[in-house]
Amino acid sequence: MRSQIVTLDRISDALALLPRLGGWISAALILVVLALITYSIALRYFFGTPLEWTEELVGYTVVALVSCGLSDALIRQRHIAIDLLTNQLPQRRQVYVALIGSLATLAVALVWVWSTWETTEFNRAFCLYSNGDLEAPIWITQVPLVIGAGLLVLASLSILIKLMAEVSK
């Protein structure tokens, strides 16, 4: 029994590794956005040469940083939920409610994986390009969404397994 719980906890920790890595990448991308915008302000004011593609690139970077960071925030319980009613339940019941919540999260994450994959795949076949200065192939800018949805699946599985360990205690 005890060893089972230890195993479950280990699996949960292992599943959390990639989402945590995603958190670091997301944080780094925030600094990248900061640098990018600062650079474009500097070029414009000090050298009079505006960068046309910053805005477009910042948009894609936002997509990427959100994709990478969501699962980290989820694992660290940094999402907002309304625990007004569930808080009133006895401890044991609260774990069960949380279990249902993490199942819902897993379901939503799976829908995201599937739908972002479909979107990306469609736009690749369609040869859709952005009409901005980068003329970027849209599907490439959407790949982070698919990866982020995948990380979300890992994160919700990790939480789910941790809760199962809790239940078996």
């Binding site: 805005e55 979107t119 469609f122």
Partner: protein
């Protein structure tokens, strides 16, 4: 009760002249189909944003959408043929357009992409080059100025006159002009009023340099499933809307010059000679760049466009 629902997304705010035409077109379809098609219009990006319109219809998430020709960019460069400098200035070209070979050519290309075109809505051919202190009316006036760019082939024409094109979205232009990020802009004359360009630019020269149009398209699978009568309703309404759009645009443009002058803007109506001089410099550069950009489509399309005149 209607047997078909046609969700139609577009980007124009409800009061925009094209939004008015689209509403009229929608109710015309409902009338012509004897109420068999329920057309639900979602204006102002409220359902699907302008960036997502094209794939959303191609995928079949929604049945119908409108896009400006600029939206196609590198995805289908042929759609940008109307940015050929001084080629689409004549309104009669637009009255003939829906039944022309050039339109049929583009409709084929759209179908290859997975979209059935249902109407062509001409937006404007009256543009202004805005600037400060002097008019931009001859190629020499463009030397060394930073101007808002459009699409690569058109920008090639601007560069040939000595300007440096800077690209930005329409919403940014006002601020860019006021802070000196750019010195000049090209915009349709009605937008020069609605976006208050007159606050930051005092000279404007009126030029029929490009044409901007929107077009409505539907999902081909959905279209093929329609009854012959409903397909006919779409086709008839599409033709009617194309004419309404030309008339509507004339009305939208009519008041603009007086409004600009009332705000203290100096207006110059370019003469045919001035237009020719600019066209002589811009057009070869445009054609060369358009050829590279749009690939094999460009040559045939340019030929078909010449036939329209």
């Amino acid at each position: 009760a209607p047997s078909e629902t046609m969700r139609c997304a577009h980007q124009f705010p409800p009061t925009h002249s094209l939004a008015v035409v689209i509403d009229k077109w929608a109710s015309e379809i409902e009338t012509l189909s004897d109420g068999d098609i329920d057309v639900q219009v979602f204006p102002a990006n409220s359902l699907v944003s302008d960036k997502e319109n094209i794939p959303a219809v191609a995928k079949g998430d929604i049945e119908c959408a409108f896009a400006l020709n600029f939206a196609w960019g590198r995805t289908l460069p042929a759609m940008l043929v109307t940015t050929a400098p001084f080629t689409f200035g004549d309104l009669d070209v637009w009255r003939k357009w829906p039944d022309s070979k050039a339109a049929a050519f583009l409709e084929d290309r759209l179908l290859d992409k997975g979209l059935k075109n249902v109407t062509w809505l001409f937006q404007t051919n009256t543009s202004v080059f805005t600037s400060n202190d002097k008019f931009l009316k001859s190629p020499d006036d463009f030397k060394g100025i930073k101007i808002r760019g459009l699409v690569p082939p058109f920008n090639a024409g601007l560069e040939k006159m000595g300007a440096s094109p800077v690209s930005m979205s329409g919403g940014e232009v006002y601020q860019a002009l006021s802070t000196g990020v750019i010195d000049a802009a090209l915009t349709d004359i009605a937008a020069a009023v609605s976006r208050k360009y007159y606050e930051v630019q005092d000279h404007m020269s009126v030029v029929p340099v490009i044409s901007v149009y929107a077009h409505g398209f539907v999902n081909p699978k959905w279209y093929d499933g329609l009854s012959a009568k409903n397909q006919d309703a779409l086709s008839k309404a599409g033709h009617m809307a194309a004419i309404w759009a030309v008339d509507e645009s004339g009305a939208a443009v009519a008041d603009a010059p007086a409004q600009l002058e009332a705000q203290g803007v100096k207006l110059h109506w370019t003469t045919p000679q001035e237009q020719q001089a600019m066209a002589d410099v811009m057009l070869p550069a445009f054609n060369e760049s358009f050829g590279k950009w749009a690939g094999e489509d460009s040559e045939e399309l340019v030929k078909l466009v010449q036939e329209l005149k």
